[in-house]
Symmetry: C2
Subunit: 308 residues, 2 copies
């Protein structure tokens, strides 16, 4: 198996200035593995859902090459549910409802078929659960990437630091990087955070793109300038999934290839925000993806001439 | 003459978290023409100073190939003076003192040697004065670029729109673009603003880089991630001067060359913020510049492979 993803498989109810949804399928694990399935055919998802979770979604994941033996289905229990409302700027949101349900007692199980996987993506979850997954693997993956959020910095900083010491790539946003490092400059923040464990750091800046810190090098990845963001839910997870799927598919963790992986993740994320939830991710073709990537090339690449 | 710049030549007194200055030389016209002098040998500056302005600075400008016949020296009057204090985030500042002095009655004079110039850069000034300069040229330059600020949108919007109708390139920051267009999305803001006159729009986003809107194309220019910004004063003018100097030196207004011009401007601006005022700009060598540009190349460029 190439890649294991750990993350929530959930229900979301979303309100944006453009409309609102009933309960739809969401969750970090769902977005990450759908995005990485664009590049990786042989991957597994570790998660937990309740009896109320639709079988057709699980079947759809399987059809996308995602092994779901690692998704526990809890009889008589309910799936994690999150509801939120985005503000007009689409950069900030209020959480209206969080029902942990099955996620409150999540005890991750690694199917034997997953053992020996080369790459591990830890979606945003309690840092203790993220660490349990690492500990339950017989063999350390070649590369472990991890997402987290300010919530865990607030309530479980020590646990978070213990998990961070075990990983290779941390993916967080600029606000979280500043909170975690207590530094305003992202260059300084990166130094502090990389001292905590992850050799490689990706700082997401929303509409301002993302920064990759890799060895002595920095890559400033563009975001596609969009007329409208319809629904930002899952964009960060899609970015992480596209990134990690690209790395797993190419098996190359060099700076130049991580640049490409970030562009791949950014391209998928730029689709994700065009419709509610995972809808757009299920539609895009290889041609759509290639066209979107060529927009990123035109957007960011330049060739300097020598001035006479 | 290749390039005419119009803009203030002034005194600044600056406070940052790193220190403070006495009155030092500043002003949009000074920063722009010093930056463009990196690329253009034959340019002129249109401005006004008081009797108190140091002759050695005027001599220094001349030494840099900047014709100063267009700088009026007003006997018995004082040079424009601005004093400001930057906040800890270095992104916002308070103006402590503004003494317009000679700038209050600035009536720009175009020396005959300036007539026939190919390129015109209108630094931030009253839109009426900016328009007077255009009107006083015998022949319309090939390309007119203009900087402005929210202050003029607040108090002289109609005048500003009249001047905008006459120019080719507008250079403003993201907040100003949103104010001018009444649109939050910068893509939508760009559409509205380009309807007002300028075919080409550059939106500066500080530490988040800059966007170039040119024809149907968009370029997302990176900003160099910096550990510290020592003094941001003049960075925007240095960017504009580097941009316009590069365009004037190459005579090429294509999308691909404007990308290069933006990188050139960004590289010079990244030096500008390393010391107070114009100090750093007077030190950099061709080699410093080339090294800085190569950092931008590594920072922004990537090459996509075809995935199997």
């Amino acid at each position: 198996m190439k890649l294991i993803t750990v993350g929530s498989v959930a229900f979301d109810a979303i309100e944006t200035p453009f409309g609102k949804t009933d309960k739809i399928v969401g969750g970090a694990g769902t977005f990450i593995s759908l995005a990485s399935s664009f590049f990786v055919e042989n991957q597994g998802l570790v998660s937990v859902v309740g009896e109320d979770f639709p079988e057709e979604t699980l079947n759809y994941l399987t059809k996308k090459g995602i092994n779901i033996d690692g998704i526990q289905i809890k009889k008589g229990e309910k799936t994690f549910f999150w509801s939120g409302r985005y503000h007009n700027d689409m950069n900030s949101r209020d959480t209206l409802i969080t029902e942990l349900n099955v996620l409150g007692s999540f005890d991750p199980v690694i199917p034997s078929a997953y053992q020996g996987a080369d790459y591990l993506m830890l979606g945003n979850l309690s840092p203790e659960v993220q660490r349990q997954v690492i500990e339950r693997l017989d063999q350390r993956p070649k590369l472990i990437a991890m997402d987290t959020m300010n919530f865990w910095m607030d309530i479980a900083l020590d646990e978070l630091k213990k998990t961070m010491a075990l990983i290779d790539v941390l993916i967080i946003n600029d606000e979280e990087a500043r909170q975690l490092s207590k530094e305003y400059s992202l260059v300084k923040a990166a130094m502090v955070i990389r001292e905590m464990g992850p050799e490689i750091l990706i700082i997401k800046k929303g509409e301002h793109g993302a920064l990759l810190f890799h060895g002595e090098d920095i890559f400033f990845a563009p975001a596609l300038p969009l007329e409208e963001v319809f629904d930002p839910t899952g964009a960060g997870d899609t970015f992480a999934g596209g990134f990690m799927g690209y790395i797993a598919a190419t098996g190359d963790t060099s700076f130049e290839n991580m640049k490409r992986a970030i562009i791949a993740g950014s391209a998928l994320a730029s689709f994700c925000v065009e419709k509610f939830g995972t809808e757009r991710l299920t539609e895009i073709t290889k041609q759509d993806f290639d066209e979107r990537v060529s927009r990123f090339v035109s957007l960011a690449n330049f060739e300097m001439n020598q001035l006479a």
